[in-house]
Amino acid sequence: MTDAGADAADGTEPAAAAESGTQISATSVADAVDDLSGEGLSGYNYAYLDEHTKREVRRAILKGIAIPGHQVPFASRPMPLARGWGTGGIQASLSLLGPDDAFKVIDQGSDESVNAANVRRLAETTAEVETTTDTTEADVIQTRHRIPEEVLDEDQILVLQVPITDALRKVDSSDAANRRRHAHANYGKMWVHLYENVVEWGEIQIAARYPAMVAGRYLMDPSPIPRWDLPKLDDADNLFVFAAGREARIYAVPPHTDVEPLAFEDKSFQVERFPDQSCHSCGSTDTYLTEIETEEGTESDGGDRLYVCNDTSFCLKRQDDPGLAKDHHLDREGVDWGPGTPGGPAGADRDELAEGDGGDDA
C-alpha cells in the first residue's frame, strides 16, 4: 500500500510539514508512514474498542435480552467504516468476541463480499480470533440481512446488522410517537398498514423487514432478512443480537422466545416461493434462492433464468454432499429451522411448506 505512495512522493521535500507543528524528519512519505506505524496495532486496545465501550455495549445487549424486542440505546462509537455499513454489528461482535472464539461474517449470504471480508479482517487483526466460513464452527456470526441455512445451536450468537430499528417508522415517521406506541403496545396503525396491504394486493406484500411480535409484547423490525428467515427467529436455540450503529440501538431475541410475524387469521404470513426451482450449483430445493445472471445475461436478454443458493457456505457443503440436512451437525434430528427443512422428497413439498407450514411455524 505504501509503494505507490512512495513512488509518487519521492523527491518532494517535506518542507511544509517541517514548518508546521509536527516535526517529521523523514524525507519521503514512505519513511514518514514507517515512523508513524512504529506503534502499530499495539496502540489499540484488544478488539479495537476500549474496555468501557465494550462494557457499555454488553450492558445494552444484556438489557436487550432482559426485554426481548425492546430497543436499547447505546453510545455507538465512530468505527473505521461509514455508518450504515455494519458499524452496529461490528461493535456488538467486537464486544462479544474473545481470543478463543471463531468468527464468521456474511453479507447477504456470502462470506466473500468486500464488506464481509474487511469486517472479518478487522476482527482477525484486532481481536486475534480465528475466522471461519463454516457456520457450524463459528461462535459468533455477524450477518447482513440473512440467517444461515444451517441450524444454529445454543453456543452460537448471531449478530444482525440493522439499518432501520423501528418497524413502526413505515407507518409514522415520528420516533417520539412510535416510542409511545411501543410503551403502550399500541400497534393499531401497523395493523391498518397490513389491512390496506391485503386490500390492495390480496395478500400481505411486505418483502423484507417483516414486522414481528416478540414474546407477545414488542413489535420488532427483524432487519431486512427475507421472510424466509423470519420463522427461524421463533423458539431458536441461539441468541440473536440486533445492532444498529447509525441509530445507536441494540435489541435482542433470546433463545426460545416466541417471535410471531404479524398476520391475519385468514391471511397468513407466507415465505418466498420458488416454484419448480432448484439451486444451479448444488441442486437444493429447500434453501433460499437468488436469481443470477449468466454470461448470456438475464432471461430478458435471452440468457437462462438461473437460481443459486443465497447461503454460499452451505451451498458448497451441499455440492459435496447433496443430502446434507440443515441440522446435520446437531445431536437431535428433525430440528425445526425455517421453511423447507428436509423431511420429504426434495422439491415436492416446498410449495406446500411455503403455503402452510410457513404460517404455522410462525
Binding site: 403502550h184 403496545a185 399500541n186 393499531g188 395493523w191 391498518v192 389491512y195 390496506e196 391485503v198 386490500v199
Partner: protein, 276 residues
C-alpha cells in the same frame, strides 16, 4: 341505572392562581380569570346519561362544550389541568384517573368519539375503510374477512358509498368524512358515543341526511349519545335532554322540549330567540 355519570368536570388552561373558578363563570361574565389570566374552559359541570338516551350540550363558541366532550371521551389531555370524576357502568373507579392502557381500551371499545375536526379523528392518508378498520384492529380483531365485512356493513349503515371504501380518506367529501367518523365511532358497538359538532361545516341538505342517519342508527342500536353543538336545531332534533353552557358553566338543564319552549335562564332565552 345510570350509564355515564360525570361530576365536577373542570379544565383550566394556563397557570391558575387558585381562585380562578370563583372569579369566572356566568355570574362574572367571563371564563378568563381577571387575576391570573388562566382560562377556565369548564368547571362544576356534572351530568349523567341513561342507557339509550341522547344528551345535548348547547352553547356559543368558547363556552366549554368541547372541553366537556373531550373529558367524557377520556381523551388524553395535551395541555391544561383537568379534574373531575367520570364513571361508566360496568367499569370500576374514576376513569379520568385510569392509566393510559385502560383509557385506550375503553376508547377502542365502550366509548366512541366523533371529533369536531376531521384531522383529529381520521388519518386522511389511510383509506376510509382503513380508518374504520383501525378501531376494530386496535380492539383485537384479527380475521381479515370479519374486519372487511364489518367495515362494509358500517359503510352501508352510515350511507357512505361502499365502492369508495378503499380510496384515501382525503379524497372524500366533507360529508363522507363525517360519516366515516361516525362509522368509526360505532365500529366496536360502544355503550356511548360522544359527537362534537357533528354537522359543522356541512351544507344544510347534507346536515339533514347525516342527522337522519345518526338518529336512525342511534335508535336501532340503542346506543347512548352526548351531542355537542352550537346549533339548537341539531340538539332539538337529536337530544332527549339538554344542557346549556356559557362561560364554562352549565346555566340551564332540562328536557329538550322544556328548554326550547320555556327557557328559564336569560342567556337561554336570548339563544333561542336569536335562531335565524
Amino acid at each position: 341505572m345510570t350509564l355515564l355519570d360525570a361530576s365536577d368536570l373542570r379544565r383550566v388552561y394556563g397557570d391558575s392562581c387558585g381562585d380562578c373558578v370563583e372569579l369566572t363563570g356566568d355570574a362574572a361574565g367571563t371564563n378568563q380569570c381577571p387575576e391570573c389570566g388562566a382560562v377556565v374552559a369548564c368547571a362544576d359541570v356534572s351530568l349523567d346519561v341513561e342507557p339509550g338516551e341522547v344528551l345535548g350540550i348547547v352553547g356559543e363558541s368558547g363556552s366549554g362544550k368541547s372541553s366537556v366532550a373531550e373529558l367524557l371521551a377520556l381523551e388524553r389531555a395535551t395541555d391544561g389541568q383537568a379534574s373531575g370524576d367520570v364513571r361508566l357502568d360496568g367499569h370500576d373507579g374514576n376513569l379520568l384517573d385510569a392509566d393510559y392502557e385502560t383509557r385506550h381500551r375503553l376508547r377502542n371499545g365502550a366509548v366512541g368519539l366523533v371529533h369536531q375536526h376531521v384531522r383529529d379523528g381520521l388519518n386522511l392518508e389511510f383509506t376510509g375503510g382503513g380508518n374504520v378498520a383501525e378501531k376494530l384492529l386496535a380492539a383485537g380483531w384479527r380475521n381479515f374477512g370479519d374486519v372487511r365485512d364489518r367495515v362494509r356493513d358500517l359503510f352501508e349503515e352510515t350511507e357512505v358509498p361502499v365502492e369508495r371504501m378503499d380510496d384515501p380518506t382525503e379524497t372524500y367529501s366533507g360529508g363522507m368524512q363525517r360519516r366515516v367518523q361516525i362509522a368509526r365511532a360505532l365500529a366496536t358497538d360502544p355503550d356511548v358515543v360522544i359527537l362534537d359538532e357533528p354537522t359543522t361545516g356541512l351544507d344544510v341538505s347534507v346536515q339533514a341526511r347525516v342527522l337522519d342517519m345518526f338518529r336512525r342508527i342511534q335508535r336501532e342500536e340503542d346506543v347512548a349519545a352526548v351531542v355537542v353543538s352550537h346549533d339548537l336545531g341539531v340538539v332539538r332534533l337529536l337530544a332527549d335532554r339538554t344542557l346549556v353552557m356559557r362561560h364554562g358553566r352549565v346555566v340551564e338543564t332540562g328536557l329538550t322540549d322544556r328548554v326550547m319552549e320555556d327557557p328559564h335562564h336569560e342567556y337561554t332565552q336570548t339563544l333561542i330567540n336569536s335562531v335565524i
